[in-house]
Symmetry: C2
Subunit: 349 residues, 2 copies
């Protein structure tokens, strides 16, 4: 029998954080691609567009006029998926038909007054201001809601409908599915091994170095062993931190700088303003008495869709939707040939 080589031989890997498996078939990168090609980003984005509802001074859908903000700017989403006061669907009449109440708040956060800068084009102090705004919105909404999901959809390919640099914050009265999975896994790892899953995981990756993309005094960026998206990364603090608001000023500065490095690498990989969805996961907030959430470790997931070039993406369809996630190159290959290298963020033309 041949000796196993991950880059030659398909295998499955386990994601202990979200309790899922991925099929890794690296040899499949050899197949030709004749499918859909994404439109290239050709539009010039003007620095200021008075008709863009995210710009300083612009009028939004609800008639409100934005202030002439010069840093970050947080406001209520005009088309929220979650509102504070929805009534309860009431008890179910059958175990197969279960609905429950959902309450919450959806906000939008502009990162910068200019529409033509993305995070990697912003200065480290400007990114630091975004991090501070993330920490305080987590604290504010967390006083009322157990889960505060901060996420950024970057690029039209990722459903982003406005080029102005921004993220969203959806706070909910329930723990969303993926939060529940991470809660269960971290809880059970902690009770078995006496320490947080992701703290030990980061330490191991720092030793192994095979999947480490960036490290700094306080942070690690790695392609997780169980990554699903081709160039997926995980951003982790090196010490035990449960939530964004706990980060020290030094950790926030360092985070701004490592984010700028990571996103610049991403932009350089295919010489494009790299699309992705990213988001922060931290310990649940709110009032659950006695819960210390010591098993939680703060982290951010980056899920970028591109596979081969600025216009050829990985489709998570068919087998992936019906059976199991599948990837075409190993996390170790990404680290070795992938996102190391060049150093200039890509300008929206």
């Amino acid at each position: 029998a041949a000796t196993f080589r991950a880059s030659e031989h398909q295998h499955i890997r386990y994601n202990p954080l979200q309790d899922e498996w991925v099929l890794v078939s690296a040899h499949r990168m050899k197949r030709p691609w004749q499918g859909q090609v994404e439109p290239q980003l050709l539009k010039t984005v003007p620095r200021h567009d008075p008709l863009n509802p995210l710009c300083p001074g612009a009028t939004r859908a609800n008639g409100e006029v934005n202030p002439h903000y010069d840093g970050t700017f947080l406001f209520d989403n005009d088309f929220p998926a979650l509102q504070p006061d929805a009534p309860d669907p009431g008890p179910s009449d059958h175990p197969l038909f279960r609905a429950e109440a959902a309450r919450g708040v959806c906000k939008v956060m502009c990162f910068h007054p200019w529409s033509d800068v993305t995070l990697p084009l912003m200065s480290v102090p400007e990114i630091r201001a975004v991090i501070d705004a993330w920490a305080s919105v987590t604290e504010d909404l967390g006083a009322q809601y157990p889960w505060v999901q901060i996420f950024e959809n970057k690029g039209a390919m990722m459903g982003c409908s406005n080029p102005h640099p921004h993220c969203q914050v959806w706070a909910s009265s329930f723990l969303p599915d993926i939060a529940q999975r991470e809660e269960r896994s971290q809880q059970s790892y902690h009770s078995q091994h006496g320490e947080p899953l992701l703290l030990e995981y980061g330490r191991q990756e720092l030793l192994k170095k095979e999947r480490l993309v960036l490290s700094s005094e306080h942070w690690l960026v790695l392609v997780p062993f169980w990554a699903v998206w081709p160039f997926q990364t995980l951003l982790l603090p090196r010490r035990h931190v449960r939530r964004l608001p706990e980060l020290t000023p030094a950790e926030r500065d360092d985070l701004a700088s490592i984010m700028k490095k990571l996103l610049t690498k991403y932009d350089n990989l295919f010489e494009t303003s790299f699309p992705y969805s990213m988001g922060w996961h931290g310990a649940p907030m709110g009032l659950k008495t006695g819960a210390t959430y010591d098993h939680w470790q703060l982290h951010a997931h980056y899920y970028p869709p591109l596979l081969r070039s600025a216009t050829v993406r990985k489709f998570m369809v068919g087998y992936e939707m019906l059976a199991q996630a599948q990837r075409d190159l190993t996390p170790e290959q990404v680290r070795a040939q992938g996102i190391l290298g060049l150093h200039r963020p890509f300008h929206l033309i």
Copy 2:
């Protein structure tokens, strides 16, 4: 407090088959869409293209020449994600780094010799031939592998790279993630209630009628209570059937006819050759001694991405990737205004 109305008030619903939740925020359909618009299908597909490796008589990537087939045609995928003989990655040195062996086979099945017909354009006997081919490939590969995943990616939007009507079959030595979830849920429902989950579910939907799209002597098509994709449907036999090969000739004929109706409705909804990923789930195959899999009910899932028109899709990004699935119209609205009204399948121009 206001009375709860699903079409006005956000809520969460539980998927008892896959143990997942979805956030339903129907009021959100009111928001304007300024994001990415999908390219319209403008290409003429020739009935026969000697350079298309899926056509009768064409030469494939491995040099083999296709027969001049006149019905369905099954062959090995030239770029398989699963191969029969990969070596084992061996034992893991750490609980957070778990990899396991994966073996299998990937096949491609052409539905018809002509490239310009999709399933809804085929005759009922031609679709019946596809169903027979599905049943026999399940039986053949199931003799060796516990899971045989039949799936179709239709449309460039769903990563389909060849317009010739075809599906894929990936058989694996492991139960994929979603199969495991369905196995667990059906097993536990059966042991609690003494009958298969989906058999009872179909019966309830037939009584309620709120989400029923089509019914025939042997089959039901409904928008599941917990649907995630806007126009998602579930196709179910009315009697207890565990796997495709168990279907009687009458059930197969009836299936061909209800599939033609469903796919014609889909094509008519936005007057386009409707894109989707679909796939069959049946009881695990293979040699597990004593297992009767009486808790399993055969079914097909249809996951179509379109939301508002032939060119505006639902993006499952950001919140959906990081927290929980979210939908913008209720399953009952789909049933009421959506995919009713049979007309004419849409021809690839």
